[in-house]
Symmetry: C2
Subunit: 222 residues, 2 copies
């Protein structure tokens, strides 16, 4: 009779755990950590079918990890709070530090051709550089994510548009690129592309997710 209640408690707790137990759902959380998105925005970005995305979002919603907002025919999903982003980030960190499989998979994903880890910039360094105004900060994520929130002072230059920015960047002071976070490949790609075109660029060691969870200021809109 009390045993039952304990089981019920852990059953409910497992609902939250299960929500983090599917790769597809984790991809969605990773995207939602960048800001709110519509269902088909997510489907498009993650390369999944709409029904599939919707089903996974229901699971996240049942676990109270996401909330929704309706605007016309569109439904926007967002994380239910900062604590959810924190939890996701914590899980990622534990996974990466504990599991050799995770860290290998991460390296394989990020270091596609070969390692180019010269000139990493820490958050603290970046803050200092921004305060002194001696940095060109590039947010290389897709525009929607930039609009939903970016580091104050950053300019949105999605990967596809980098080519047309080369001329300007050649004369710029220190160029620093960032993207979603430490599980995101875009800033790696950007630094590689820029380097190949003769623009020396450095990379922020992590990204927007970590910037947010560190409680640093975020700017939204253009």
């Amino acid at each position: 009779m009390n045993e039952e209640r304990r089981h019920h408690l852990f059953d409910e707790l497992a609902v939250v755990g299960k929500a983090f137990g599917s790769p597809k759902r984790l991809e969605l959380v990773e995207l939602l950590a960048q800001g709110e998105r519509t269902v088909d925005g997510l489907a498009r970005a993650a390369g999944m079918g709409m029904s599939t995305v919707s089903a996974h979002l229901q699971v996240l919603k049942l676990a109270n990890l996401v909330r929704t907002r309706r605007d016309g025919t569109k439904v926007f999903y967002r994380l239910a709070g900062d604590d959810v982003a924190h939890l996701y980030a914590a899980m990622r960190t534990v996974a990466r530090e504990r599991s050799a499989d995770v860290s290998q998979a991460l390296e394989a994903y990020l270091n596609l051709p070969g390692s180019d880890e010269v000139g990493l910039v820490t958050r603290e360094e970046l803050e200092r550089m921004l305060a002194e105004g001696e940095v060109t900060l590039l947010d290389v994520r897709p525009p929607e994510e930039y609009l939903a929130g970016h580091i104050p002072g950053a300019r949105n230059t999605p990967l596809g548009t980098l080519d047309s920015e080369l001329a300007g960047l050649r004369q710029a002071p220190t160029v620093v690129a960032y993207c979603r976070g430490s599980f995101c490949v875009m800033a790696h790609d950007a630094v590689r592309i820029l380097g190949g075109a003769g623009v020396e660029a450095r990379r922020l060691e992590d990204g927007m997710l970590e910037w947010r969870t560190a409680g640093l200021p975020v700017e939204a809109g253009a």
Copy 2:
């Protein structure tokens, strides 16, 4: 070709998530957070079959969340590190704060007859009381867990033995009881039992798990 690598990364990450996605496994993690245990120690404490426990432990091991140590014919399992206990605690907190179902299930489990939440003691208060030596601190967990680590200065008085301690406790200064943590019912029961026998006891607001993850000193053995 790169898409594949991303999927592989999230697949690996989900292995860790899935490990937290089963109620039985969460019960085991809750027990392991108190200290190392043998397989059948866990089976006994959680009321599960040995094969079942062993299977769940393999899942946790595959996710690198637990480690094993062999002593004779026995195999001891323990959490792989403090970060795992932290992650579990963080998940519990998010679940409790976000999900009404979890907090209701928790209340139903803890407040069995009715609420008796008078005289909660915070960690800070307890530290002060311990420093001034004006407290009788009761660890009401089973002996194995007490031996594996307890708050310095605590005396082990498992629930079943409380009756025989009543005489002594009536003369003791402030009595404070604690158990595993905020999802554990034993300290609630202890305060209720003591109160019913005319011993005024207070309860530490959480328990050993939170004490540990706060980085406070832990004493092992007798």
